[in-house]
Symmetry: none
Subunit: 204 residues, 4 copies
DNA sequence: GATGAATGAGAATTCATTCAT
DNA sequence: AATGAATGAATTCTCATTCAT
């Protein structure tokens, strides 16, 4: 950190970028700090000036940095979506997820690291629970209850509804951005089909 | 392998069981062969009598062994489902997935290893593509086309339909068996909701 | 440790010998495990099969091993001295210290390590306090009180007497065995002078 | 050094003070220059503006600096003692050591460093031999010979007498200032006992 | 004068793998 | 078949030292 600006040094950024690339390619445990240093174009010792341990480097990627510095705009965008009054559940879905997906696309590598390391690092789990469980989930649940009361969607337990909404979209993202390389138009069609599928699946 | 019988030795089985437990807990790269030997109650060197390298041990779990020794019954069960003529798409879905889920449940650890190591080992990817892409997917696709022609489900691209069917079910399995510990009854209800959701989402 | 015999392996002994030589020459902190391995004629990794950390290697030299395996005979010899009834304080002193000194001489290197590392390792301090404070000192004090009551030595606080006895002898050992290389005869004369000095210094 | 005045800069003094504190606490080899810089409230690099290497910093503490800047008054005090004509050996001893001990007490940390590093650094040994062997020892020996000729103390080899005088006093200092925390009165009594012990031990 | 980022050699430690028994 | 001692390359991390600012 630069003392004056409390911002990230150029070197620090290089290290983080290199670490993201390598962690996401090989997995945290199979990545070595020497590979990261090489990719960052710095000496290995330099990494440890900024991150006391390899683990701290991992947590700086999936932890405070990502979730508080890189995500807040994302979150505020998301909150805006929830403030607006949408005419229909379908419109809401489209609005809520189209920018979410762009976000994931832009940060594929970080998302991949988070998903991959989640099972092995309680610290990451806590970060994610903190973020999703306490910040995003309540917003989503409120909205769902609203649509259930207006009779637009079926009266299942909220958690179930959330799951039924989220999983097809996650499946869409994985198949589109991680597994196959499709044309943009193709993706658009797939996205539409997925939205339609959810809406029909949840209508009363 | 025992040369005479071409079967698995007791020691070999101990090693594989220990490896499954440890790989699934810590991930392949973060597991050490000495931990495995310890858990198996064998000497460090013994592992290497049966598996030339640590990687070969991994591949024996997610590769031939699992997919040819442990899965064949599973596959034949599955094939039976596809032979039968079900009255409705809904009945088919229920039949096809209820035993699939039992399978996953019984082999949580192996499934976890496969999912976790998939991105890092081309060999595993090939195994899975071989199995799913060439054995299971064609079966599923045939059946889907059948239901599309009978007008029971919507006329989207087959791959899309497969995705829309599979992802909610995968989401169900993950949330039920990996994330939360629910009562059996609860699980049953969730499973039903998921089936209903898919059927409604795909009806024309 | 050899499981059967609970004894020290040949390799383990080589490591300990090499470590004693190098620790005593350069001091613990300035010694590297690679130097020790080299001197022991073993691979560096081998050290860590027997001693989980460098510190554990140090403690195995100055700790249980030395003080329970190597010293007990020494201690029992010492205790014998205290059981015997000596005619005079002077005879007692001579008997008590002549074999003590032989012991130090034989284990110069280990003694050097203990003295040098004492200030930096609480664990070593505890070992020494345990040994001297609880086993040897009480014996010595009893004997001193005995000679004070018989009027043979002056009635100072026991701790003070112990100090006045021990320090000239320690000084003798240091100057004789660590600082200067003298002839054996010379040493014998110096030892005699030291004993006489203590006896006269403590007579009433 | 300040070129003009050939005196020690404020920063330099801070570094030396910090180094004394840390070297004496952890030992030279186990101390890091960054800890010293931190304790001195200076940047890591600043140390190396004044001392080309870590070793040079050590030698500046136990070498010229201490022995020429901090000790000269001490030495001249000491020399004064030797100029004076004391009535008895006992008075001489008391006079010679009472201020010596005050000196050690005031510079516990430096003394501790010297004693601890003596075995590992020939340079320090040379400094000490230079100082004691060539400056102090001759003075002491002359005085001892004087008291031997006057028949006040026993006719042992001078080196032996020096050892018999010095070791109880060193033992007194160690036990009093390094091992145990006693009351000032207690210390005074112990000092007296030690002097008496030496005088009696050396009387013909 | 002072800084502190950067370095790279070297430290302790781990671990898959080999091999004599 | 099984062992487990031994290996040495690789890994994470430390630290004295340099140098541009």
């Amino acid at each position: 950190m630069n003392k004056e600006t409390n911002q990230i040094t150029e070197s620090q950024q290089k290290i983080i970028d290199a670490a993201i690339a390598i962690f996401s390619e090989k997995g945290y445990a199979a990545s070595s700090t020497s590979q990261i240093a090489k990719k960052a174009g710095l000496a290995e010792g330099t990494i440890f000036r900024y991150f006391r341990t390899k683990k701290e480097l991992l947590l700086s990627i999936v932890g405070p940095y990502t979730l508080k510095v890189f995500l807040p705009k994302a979150i505020s965008d998301f909150e805006k979506v929830f403030m607006d009054d949408y005419d229909s559940f379908e419109d809401f879905l489209r609005a809520a997820f189209s920018n979410r997906i762009a976000l994931v696309k832009k940060n594929q590598a970080v998302v991949k690291i988070i998903v991959q390391e989640l099972p092995f690092h309680p610290e990451i789990r806590e970060q994610i629970i903190e973020l999703f469980g306490k910040k995003i989930l309540p917003l989503v649940e409120t909205k769902i209850v609203h649509f259930q009361q207006s009779g637009e969607i079926i009266a299942l337990p909220v958690k179930t509804v959330v799951r039924l909404i989220v999983t097809p979209l996650v499946g869409y993202v994985i198949s589109t951005y991680f597994l196959f390389q499709n044309t943009e138009q193709n993706n658009q069609e797939e996205f539409e089909s997925t939205i339609q599928f959810i809406v029909k699946g949840l209508c009363p």
